[in-house]
């Protein structure tokens, strides 16, 4: 009798345990992408695009059955582009989910959370940062950049310049921020190696309204090419319109974050002929063979920003790393995911990037030069895809 009741008790305990165990097993099966996403605040223009990009790709994969039968779960949290909010979001999301992959919203966050990522050892992270410092697999073993780092972006621009006008005079205009200063010294050294002549390095204080002094300096530098870095929009239009009024004939160029089509259109007249480096195709490019872009246009008939493309490609690389890890029969931890990611060679992105991509170190050193055409109101290709070795 006693034995019987113990068996009964054990039975009910097992039943209860199975009730609890069921959702746990389910949660283990999901592959989780966490995200500190700036949906509000100064970086919201990018955050909203990134969020849409990740959401769409995750939906596409889940609609076709997920990865080896496992669904992808995307858990974003708004950070307003503040590092403390980003860290809080990371803690919350990783506390409530078994996160495998994570999207971070800034360089500062990537640097802050790096020791935690290493300690946890269960996650790989990419994000909105292209900081050169993060492109170091030894210091940042669990992170990678979706695109070229800022120095590589400058490198792509320089190669284009050296080809178009050997020995050209180049000036850098950059903001006095970590973002702005990032590629300047390396960029100058590279210019020398390519036989280009750096005639000006002009720094603008952060948040400065009037840049007339800097424009006077730029005129003295008399560059053939002016490269802006460390800005989204202001003060680029004011620089360009004043410089042109002064009779300067320089080509004006930008890097990723000042290159979105809707942002360039806000420059008004100054946008004409504005060039820059872009690692992804633009939403509207229909002449190329890009089945993935067609799918995106079907899902979202209205223009999507370059930030969308970056979010979309991040989700694609995340899931590809997870797929390769599971295919090899390994557990989804940081080390295995990163190792799988680094096996990605000549990978077809469905046209999001115009050439097959290879992840070298922590970055994807490829990009193309685009130029703004004011008649079509579009950034259009001005070079082939440029690979850095």
């Amino acid at each position: 009798m006693k034995q019987k009741s113990i068996v009964k008790w054990l039975g009910s305990l097992a039943a209860a345990a199975s009730l609890f165990a069921a959702p746990v097993a389910q949660a283990e099966e999901d592959i989780v992408i966490g995200g500190s996403i700036p949906m509000t605040g100064v970086f919201a223009f990018a955050g909203i695009g990134i969020h849409a990009g990740i959401t769409d790709y995750v939906k596409m994969i889940n609609d076709t059955g997920g990865i080896k039968g496992r669904k992808i779960k995307y858990v974003p949290e708004d950070t307003a582009y503040k590092v403390d909010a980003s860290v809080a979001a990371f803690k919350k999301i990783t506390g409530q989910n078994k996160v495998n992959l994570y999207y971070g919203d800034s360089t500062a966050f990537a640097k802050t959370i790096n020791p935690e990522l290493e300690r946890m050892g269960s996650i790989i992270m990419a994000g909105a940062s292209f900081a050169t410092e993060i492109n170091d697999p030894k210091k940042y073993p669990n992170q990678f950049l979706v695109g070229p780092d800022y120095t590589e972006m400058i490198g792509i621009l320089m190669r284009h310049i050296a080809k178009e006008k050997p020995g050209a005079k180049v000036a850098f205009v950059y903001s006095d921020t970590e973002f702005g200063r990032d590629p300047i010294d390396e960029g100058e050294a590279l210019a020398k190696r390519l036989g280009l002549n750096v005639t000006g390095k002009i720094m603008t204080p952060p948040g400065s309204v009037d840049v007339s002094t800097e424009i006077v300096k730029l005129r003295r530098a008399a560059p053939d090419y002016t490269i802006f870095h460390g800005y989204i929009l202001a003060p680029i239009p004011e620089f360009i319109s004043q410089a042109r009024k002064m009779g300067m004939t320089s080509q004006f160029m930008g890097t990723f974050w000042s290159m979105d089509n809707s942002m360039v259109m806000k420059m008004g007249e100054a946008a004409e002929g504005f060039m820059g480096v872009m690692p992804f195709r633009y939403y509207y490019e229909s002449d190329a063979k890009a089945p993935m872009l067609e799918k995106i246009r079907k899902m979202r008939p209205e223009y999507q920003s370059n930030a969308y493309m970056q979010g979309f490609l991040t989700a694609m690389l995340f899931t590809e790393a997870a797929k390769r890890t599971l295919d090899a029969g390994k557990t989804l931890d940081g080390k295995n995911l990163k190792a799988s990611l680094n096996t990605i060679k000549n990978f077809d992105t469905g046209g999001v990037v115009g050439v097959p991509i290879t992840i070298r170190g922590n970055s994807i050193p490829v990009g193309r030069i685009y130029r703004f055409d004011s008649k079509q109101q579009k950034m259009l290709p001005a070079s082939d895809w440029i690979h850095l070795d």
């Binding site: 919201a44 007339s212 006077v216 004043q242 806000k266």
Partner: protein
């Protein structure tokens, strides 16, 4: 020595100094009349610029109409702020009123981000864009015209304080509120008037600043540089705002031109410390100013 370079840099500095002086004028107007240190000055400027943007770009009004409406709208905003947030604080400690203005700045940023988001925007081009040449030297056109507007408004303000009854009432209120009451000056109305005028001047400064540097919800930071200007010039001196504005603009330009952009703020704040050590009440300020 490249004299042309020096001349161009100096002209650019004086031009941007004009904007400092104009915003400083708005700050001084409020301080002079109400003894309120208004930390929301940068955000008042931002609000004026966004009002113009809203009417010109979002509603598609002609630029001149948008400018006039933005100035009037800002004046109304100034009146509402004074009536709802500042007047109930009459007689409270200066620190409390000061904190109210800190709160006001957050509210205004929130308001702008709610309506226009935090994305950077550009005002429609409305100033003549042909280069202004002084001999060989190039003066940025927007700075040149901005400077003319600033100079005109400052002259008007100086004249008003000296000759107009309302201006005299404002000065009387500033020097002794109780005495002003006793001779029949409607002190609350003077307060209201000061806030309205200051908000309108800030809107004009905002429209000029916005047309040069673009709009963003963080453009109120410009107000911080202006705080330095008014402290150097003397919190209650219109002339001080003018001289310090031009001086600091020139100094920043020279530091930026000869030392590099990273030395601009260093030069400004070193000057601030120096002036505070030698003349704690500012170059032209009244000696009895209450310190916070």
């Amino acid at each position: 020595m490249d004299w042309l370079y020096l001349l161009e840099i100096s002209l650019a500095g004086i031009g941007s100094g004009g904007l400092y002086a104009l915003t400083g004028l708005s700050f001084v107007m409020i301080y002079k009349a109400t003894k309120v240190v208004n930390l929301a000055i940068g955000e008042m400027l931002m609000l004026g610029a966004y009002l113009m943007f809203g009417m010109a770009s979002n509603l598609g009004w002609p630029v001149w109409m948008a400018i006039v409406a933005a100035i009037i709208g800002s004046g109304l905003g100034g009146a509402i702020v004074e009536r709802l947030a500042i007047r109930p604080m009459l007689g409270e400690s200066p620190i409390s009123v000061f904190m109210v203005t800190v709160g006001l700045s957050s509210v205004m940023i929130g308001l702008v981000e709610l309506i226009w988001t935090a994305d950077q925007q550009r005002l429609p081009e409305f100033m003549p864009s042909d280069p202004v040449m002084l001999g060989e030297a190039f003066i940025p056109p927007k700075l040149f015209y901005g400077f003319l507007v600033a100079a005109a408004l400052i002259l008007i303000a100086l004249a008003v304080f000296r000759f107009w009854r309302g201006g005299v009432a404002l000065r009387a209120t500033a020097s002794d509120q109780a005495a002003a009451y006793s001779v029949g000056i409607n002190v609350p109305r003077v307060f209201s008037l000061a806030w309205i005028a200051a908000a309108m001047i800030a809107a004009i400064a905002g429209i000029v600043v916005g047309s040069i540097g673009g709009l963003s919800s963080s453009m109120g930071v410009f107000g911080l540089s202006v705080l330095v200007v008014v402290i150097v010039g003397g919190l209650d001196s219109v002339l001080g705002a003018l001289v310090a504005g031009l001086g600091i603009g020139l100094l920043e330009a020279l530091a930026g031109g000869y030392l590099g952009g990273e030395y601009k703020l260093l030069a400004t704040f070193s000057t601030l410390i120096l002036v505070l050590m030698v003349r704690p009440y500012g170059l032209f300020g009244t000696h009895e100013i209450e310190r916070l």
